[in-house]
């Protein structure tokens, strides 16, 4: 055991000495490893970051909420679905009347318009139409002012509530409350500003204005993508609510028992699932890139180690003459290969760190310490693996031939 430690230390010393002698070559050969480790670490950081932020972000959709839409989310049968009838306010009325499990119901219709205050203009702002119940179905709170009221909805008033970012950009100096803005070409009065939500997948979630649903339909058209947001009393009631809503909708649409739903009742969890599925794909892609570059890098390492063995045939012969056993020589080259790759791993982690900083603007990232260790150890393992063949070659050199070698 003690002897083994002596050997490890000696192997490390030899490895560092050899690598120092070939600095440029060493760094160049680790390029593949650097790329591989950078990819792995960066992907991991992005995915960890996304998971962390998205888990928080999706909460804003409301975990007890169910969405009645024209389509099932993430369904792909577009041609079939385009034929479906729209969701209308009439459906919402039916739900309000018939549902026993719904705690709150609000409509949601959405379009994009340029929003302006005097000479200041913001293009492509999401404009949403809803009613006073939106603050019950969604965790949306006014930061200042108030939300849309029942009276606003009843009288189709031209009032609006601003998303945090819209408020910041249209009114960097003034108080927005009571100001008149234009949504498209229609004037609206600002009655409130919503709390900040933040970013989801790099997109601001605060770039919107909300107006009463009736006003929305009058001014921006009966929008085809209207949906109904229904809140259950608790998470365990969500499934029952979905079941009940399907019944109500099917009755409203007069569907026969064998006909399929021609609407979608979606849950926040299905969004989360879809997100996870997408992330799985991203991860697989990144993983493949990483594996490929690590294999390429590993083969590069193997190649350079074979060169190194050839260059140092005399050294190997001498060491054997002086009593080095096979495994000692093999160990020496294995360590060298692992150290070489670990250096690539350290550089890769460094680049990944910079990369993570770089993409942080549009993608959330986190780099926990274990990722750093993982990157370096992973590289070392790659080095060990691709060092096996050169090490065996060195270990098997016969001392006389090695000593004769010029």
């Amino acid at each position: 055991m003690f002897r083994f430690i002596v050997e490890i230390l000696e192997g490390l010393r030899i490895a560092f000495r050899a690598l120092r002698a070939n600095k440029v070559r060493s760094v160049l050969t680790t390029l593949g490893i650097i790329i591989g480790v950078t990819t792995v670490i960066l992907m991991t950081c992005i995915i960890l970051g996304l998971n962390k932020s998205v888990a928080g972000q999706f909460a804003f959709l409301g975990s007890n909420t169910v969405y009645v839409n024209k389509f099932e989310w993430f369904s792909h049968n577009w041609r079939e679905m385009m034929k479906r009838p729209d969701i209308t306010l009439e459906h919402m009325r039916r739900i309000e009347e018939e549902s026993e499990l719904a705690v709150a119901v609000s409509p949601w219709a959405e379009t994009q318009r340029t929003v302006g205050f005097r000479e200041r203009k913001l293009s492509r702002v999401d404009v949403g139409g809803t009613n006073e119940n939106y603050i019950l179905t969604n965790p949306a709170r006014p930061e200042i002012g108030r939300f849309i009221t029942a009276a606003d909805v009843q009288h189709n008033r031209h009032v609006c509530v601003l998303g945090y970012e819209v408020a910041q950009r249209l009114f960097p100096q003034q108080n927005p409350l009571g100001q008149r803005i234009k949504i498209g070409s229609i004037p609206f009065r600002v009655v409130g500003v919503q709390e900040r939500i933040g970013k989801l997948l790099g997109q601001s979630m605060d770039n919107y204005v909300m107006v009463p649903i009736g006003t929305f339909m009058k001014e921006f058209g009966r929008h085809h993508w209207m949906s109904i947001i229904v809140k259950a009393s608790g998470p365990q009631e969500v499934e029952n609510l979905v079941y009940e809503l399907r019944g109500i909708l099917r009755r409203a649409r007069h569907l026969g028992p064998l006909e399929p739903d021609d609407f979608g009742v979606n849950q926040q969890s299905s969004l989360m699932n879809a997100f996870l599925r997408i992330m799985g794909g991203v991860y697989l892609g990144g993983f493949l890139i990483a594996v490929i570059s690590l294999v390429v890098g590993g083969i590069g390492i193997m190649n350079i180690m074979l060169v190194s063995v050839t260059e140092r045939t005399q050294e190997v012969g001498l060491r054997k003459a002086l009593g080095a056993k096979r495994w000692m020589i093999g160990w020496q080259f294995l360590i060298e290969s692992a150290v070489l790759c670990s250096i690539g791993g350290v550089l890769g982690v460094g680049f990944a760190f910079l990369g993570a900083k770089g993409v942080n603007g549009f993608l959330p990232t986190t780099m926990p310490p274990w990722v750093v260790g993982f990157g370096v150890i992973f590289a070392a393992v790659v080095g060990l693996f691709f060092g096996i063949y050169p090490a065996m070659k060195a270990a098997r050199l016969r001392p006389i031939e090695a000593l004769r070698y010029e």
Partner: protein
């Protein structure tokens, strides 16, 4: 009966195979060496001197015959066992010194102790002593390219001595040195011999061989003459 012999070579043959051609390098060598002998092997180029030295040094095994080193039959041992024996029993001095170019004198000298599994403290101390013994106490941290040829060969001799071997093998140790430096190195070997070591050296030079107490002359893989120097 064989106990007072350090080396017993009996009917040693060595045939190299080069492709399908067989090259007989040694064709039946029988030779006994006692402890503390000082023996020179001479002979024309290609007569088998290096081959014989490699066999004696356990760097290679004979095709036929038996080799007993210090009472142990070493003619059919595995690679790793031979490495152990080389490490424990044999000190090599090569014509081209064969030092590690990137390592300093101290590290070069301690190498056999590394493979003997000795901890670094003991290694350093013994290496310093061995370098001092060959007159290089002030050169411990020089690399080979910072040393003269004679100094390099002294480092190699220190390395050969460090593990207290039973046998020092020197294949043309002065071959790459000028005659004055060669004499110095021979003086070092003389001193080592006086201290009780067994030395076998290969040389071309008659005056070098005269330093030894016994000269074995090879010709075409056979012993032509085996004389004690008077």
């Amino acid at each position: 009966m064989q106990n007072n012999h350090l080396i017993e070579l009996r009917d040693i043959e060595k045939i190299y195979k080069v492709g399908t051609i067989e090259v007989p390098a040694l064709r039946g060598i029988t030779m006994l060496v006692r402890p503390n002998e000082y023996l020179a092997i001479m002979g024309p180029s290609g007569s088998g001197k290096s081959t014989l030295m490699n066999l004696i040094g356990c760097l290679d095994t004979p095709t036929k015959g038996t080799y007993t080193l210090a009472g142990e039959d070493v003619s059919r041992l595995s690679d790793n066992r031979l490495a152990e024996i080389r490490n424990r029993r044999i000190g090599f001095v090569f014509q081209t010194f064969n030092l590690l170019p990137r390592a300093n004198a101290l590290h070069n000298v301690e190498l056999p102790l590394v493979y003997a599994g000795k901890p670094i403290g003991i290694r350093r101390q013994k290496a310093r002593e061995a370098l001092a013994a060959v007159g290089l106490a002030d050169r411990t941290h020089h690399r080979p390219n910072e040393l003269s040829g004679g100094q390099r060969q002294r480092v190699a001799i220190a390395r050969a001595l460090i593990n207290n071997p039973s046998l020092i093998l020197a294949d043309e140790p002065t071959g790459n040195l000028d005659s004055v430096t060669g004499e110095e190195i021979m003086a070092v070997l003389d001193e080592i011999h006086r201290q009780g070591n067994t030395i076998i050296l290969v040389t071309h030079e008659e005056y070098i061989a005269r330093k030894a107490k016994r000269i074995v002359r090879l010709l075409d893989g056979l012993i032509e003459k085996d004389d004690y120097v008077s």
